[in-house]
Amino acid sequence: AEEPIKIGFLAPLTGATAAWGKPGLDGCRIWAERINAEGGVKLADGNHPVEFVAYDEEYDPAKARTGATKLIREDEVKFIMMLGGDPWPGVEPVADRTGMLFSTLLPSDLSPDTTTLVAPCEVHPAYIVTGVDWLARNRPELKTAVICAQDDSLGLPSIATYLAAFEAAGIEQLRRPLLFDASTTDFAPIVTRLMSGNPDIICLDTSYSDYVHPICQQLYQQGYQGQIISATLDFYDQIVQKTSKEFMEGVIFQFPDFDDPAMNSDTVNFKDANGFYEEYAKRFPNQWGAVSWEYAAIMDLWKDAAEKAGSAEPADVLEAMLDGGTGKHAFGDATWWGEELFGINHALVGNWPVVMIEDGKAVIQEFGSIPDWYDQHGDLLIKHMKEYRQMWDQRS
C-alpha cells in the first residue's frame, strides 16, 4: 500500500464537552476501517489508506490552536475536522496562514474571512425549519408555542431559527424563549414555567441530550399533554422508557436512526447507512447519536472530492469539493449556500429529514428542503438572527 493519508481530528476528547468529540472519533475510525478495507482513497498517484490523528482540544481555543499547529506542521495532516464553536476562533489565524482545509459541525463558525473552512454536514440550525414546516402542514390545530434552550452558542442561533420558523408557520409565541445555564441539572422549575401558559407546542430547541431527557421526564411527570418538538432527541428510546410510548408519540425532531429504511433511498448519499449503524451499534452499544455519523459523513464528502481532484492537497480538495456549487450531502444532493447568513457559501445545504416518534421508534416522515423554505421566508430568518445578534457580521 501507499503512504497513508493523515486526517486531523481536533475536538474535545476529555472534559465536559467530550461527548461531542469522542463518539465522532469512534465513528471516524469505523469509517476508516471500512474505506481502507475497500482499498483506501484512490488518488492520481495510487491508493492510500486513511489514518486519523486525534488531538484533544478540551474545548479551549488556546489548546485548539496548539493542536492545529501540531497536526499541520508535525503530523502533516491533509484535512482537519473540528467540532467548532468556542475553539474555532483560536484556530482561525492558523487556518488563514496555512491554507489548511478545516471542517466544522457548526456553520455559525463560517465567515468570509476564512476561505478554507467548510460546514458540509450539519447545517445547524437551518435544518430545523423543516420540522416546524412539517408540523404546521400536518397539525394545523397547534397555534401556540414556547421555547427553552441553554444559553450558549448552539442554543441562541437555534432559538432565532425556531422563532423564524414558527412565525412563518403562523404559530404564536406565548412568551420570550426561556434560557437556562449550561450547568442546570434540575429542570422542574423550567418545566413548570414552560407549562404555565398551556402552550400547544413546547420546543426544546437545540438542547443537549443531558437536558432533553430530564426535561421530557419532567414534562411527563408534570402532566404535559401537548406537542413536543426538538432539534435532537438522541437516545430517544431511553426517554420512551422513562415516560411512555403514548407520551412520546408524535414528538418531532431532526436526527434519524441510520437503520431507518428511508436511509436506503437512492437520494441519500451516506454510504451504506444501515451497515454503518449496525457496525457502530455493535462496537459502541447505546452510544449512537448525531455526532456518531456526522464526522464520517464529512469524510465521505472529502473522499469524493479528493478522488475527483486526484490529490489530497487541501487546496485541490477544497476546489473539487466546491466545484459547481453543489455537493452530495449525506441526506441528498445539496448546494453550497449561506452567503446571506454567513457571508460565504461554505455550508452545504439541501434536504433534511423530519423525524417523528411512532410507536416508540423514530421514523423519517420526509426530507424537507431548506433552500425552498429560505426562498420564501429568508427575511424572517434574517430578522430573528439579527435580533439575537447571530448574523456573521454581528458575531463579535
Binding site: 476528547l13 476529555t14 472534559g15 467530550a18 469522542k22 486525534a54 484533544d56 474545548y59 479551549d60 481555543p61 488556546a62 490552536r65 496548539t66 493542536g67 499547529t69 501540531k70 506542521r73 508535525e74 464553536g85 468556542d86 476562533p89 483560536g90 482561525e92 489565524p93 496562514r97 474571512d113 444559553d151 450558549d152 452558542s153 441562541l156 434560557l179 445555564d181 449550561a182 445578534r389 458575531r395 463579535s396
Partner: protein
C-alpha cells in the same frame, strides 16, 4: 555576582529555547509564559494569606478590556494591554470592599462567587452586544508586527510572540519580585502570619490586603491581555473554575514559601500534562494520570517542588 551570571545564562537560554522545540511545543511555550505571570501574580495575592478563587476571572477582566478597547475603539494594542491591567486592578479595588470583610475560607468562596458573577455577566444575554455572550469575543486585533533590523517580529509566530511576552513577563516579574523583597512584601507576610499583631504594629491590614489584591489583579490582567491578543479570541469559559483549579495546583505543588516555587510548579506541571502525557498518547486517561501526578507529588513533596531545589542549593539567609 552569581545572580547576574545566572540571569545572563537564563536570558541566553530563553533566546535559544524556541529553537530547541517543535512547532506545537513553541505554542505551548507561549501559553506557558502567560501562565507563569498568572501564577506569580497569584503568589502575590496569597502572600497576605488569603487564597482567592477569582484570580483567573480578574485575568479575564484584563483580557476582555484589552480586547474590547483595541477592537471596538481602535486603541493601539500595547496601550490596550496596559489598560487591561489597569482596569483589572480597578475591578479588584472595587471588589476588595465586600471581599475583605471576609477572610480565610469565607474569602476563598466569596472571591469565587464574585468572580462567577462577573463571568456570568459576560455570559448573560443582556450584555451580549458588549461581551459577546457565551461565545465571547473573536477577531481580537493582534499585536502590530514590527522589525528591529536583524529580526522581524511576526506575532502570528509563536517564537516572536514568545520573545515579546518573555520581556513583558520578565519586567512584571521583576517588579513583583522587588515588591515581595521590600518592606511592603514583609508587611504582606506579617499580615499573613499574624494579623492582629500586625495591626497592633500599626499596619492597616485591610489596606495591605487590598494592595496585594490590586497589584496581583493588575498584573494578572496584563497576562490575560497578552493571551487575548495572541489567540485572538476569548470567552467566559477561558476563565472558569477549571482554569482556576489549575493555577491553584501549580501554586501549591510548586510551593508556597518562595517566589520561584509557583513558577516552577507551573512549568513542570504544564510540561508533564501538555507534552509528556500527550506524547505518551494517553487519550482519555490523561486527566487520570495528571490527577495521579498531583496526588503523588503532594504526598511525597508536601513542601512543593521548591523543597527539592532548596535541598540542592545552599541557604543564604534563614527565612
Amino acid at each position: 555576582m552569581r545572580n547576574l551570571i545566572f540571569l545572563a545564562i537564563l536570558a541566553v537560554a530563553l533566546v535559544f529555547l524556541p529553537n530547541l522545540l517543535s512547532f506545537s511545543q513553541r505554542e505551548i511555550l507561549v501559553f506557558l509564559t502567560f501562565n507563569v505571570l498568572v501564577v506569580a501574580t497569584y503568589r502575590v495575592m496569597t502572600l497576605t494569606g488569603e487564597w482567592s478563587l477569582g484570580h483567573v476571572v480578574l485575568m479575564g477582566v484584563g483580557a476582555y478590556t484589552s480586547a474590547l478597547l483595541s477592537k471596538d475603539f481602535g486603541l493601539w494594542v500595547p496601550f490596550s494591554v496596559i489598560a487591561g491591567g489597569l482596569v483589572a486592578a480597578l475591578v479588584a479595588l472595587v471588589l476588595s470592599y465586600p471581599l475583605f470583610r471576609m477572610k480565610g475560607f469565607y474569602f476563598l468562596i466569596g472571591s469565587f462567587a464574585a468572580g462567577e458573577i462577573i463571568r456570568l455577566l459576560w455570559k448573560w444575554s443582556g450584555f451580549r452586544n458588549v461581551f459577546g455572550g457565551t461565545k465571547g469575543i473573536k477577531g481580537i486585533p493582534a499585536m502590530p508586527d514590527f522589525s528591529v533590523g536583524f529580526y522581524s517580529f511576526d506575532f502570528f509566530e509563536p517564537t516572536s510572540y514568545f520573545y515579546l511576552s518573555v520581556v513583558v513577563v520578565a519586567v512584571c516579574l521583576l517588579i513583583l519580585w522587588r515588591i515581595e523583597k521590600s518592606p511592603v512584601g514583609l508587611t504582606f507576610h506579617a499580615v499573613h502570619w499574624q494579623d492582629t499583631l500586625a495591626q497592633a504594629s500599626g499596619v492597616n491590614i485591610r489596606a495591605y490586603k487590598t494592595l496585594a489584591f490590586v497589584i496581583a489583579s493588575g498584573f494578572a490582567g496584563i497576562a490575560g491581555a497578552l493571551l487575548a491578543h495572541y489567540i485572538g479570541t476569548i470567552n467566559p469559559n477561558s476563565f472558569d473554575l477549571d482554569v482556576m483549579v489549575f493555577v491553584l495546583t501549580w501554586a501549591i505543588v510548586g510551593g508556597t514559601t518562595t517566589f520561584y516555587g509557583p513558577i516552577l510548579g507551573c512549568v513542570v506541571l504544564t510540561a508533564l500534562n501538555e507534552v509528556v502525557l500527550r506524547q505518551l498518547g494517553f487519550d482519555q486517561a490523561r486527566p487520570l494520570f495528571y490527577g495521579l501526578i498531583l496526588i503523588l507529588s503532594i504526598l511525597f513533596m508536601p513542601n512543593g517542588l521548591e523543597g527539592i531545589v532548596q535541598k540542592f542549593t545552599p541557604r543564604k539567609e534563614a527565612k
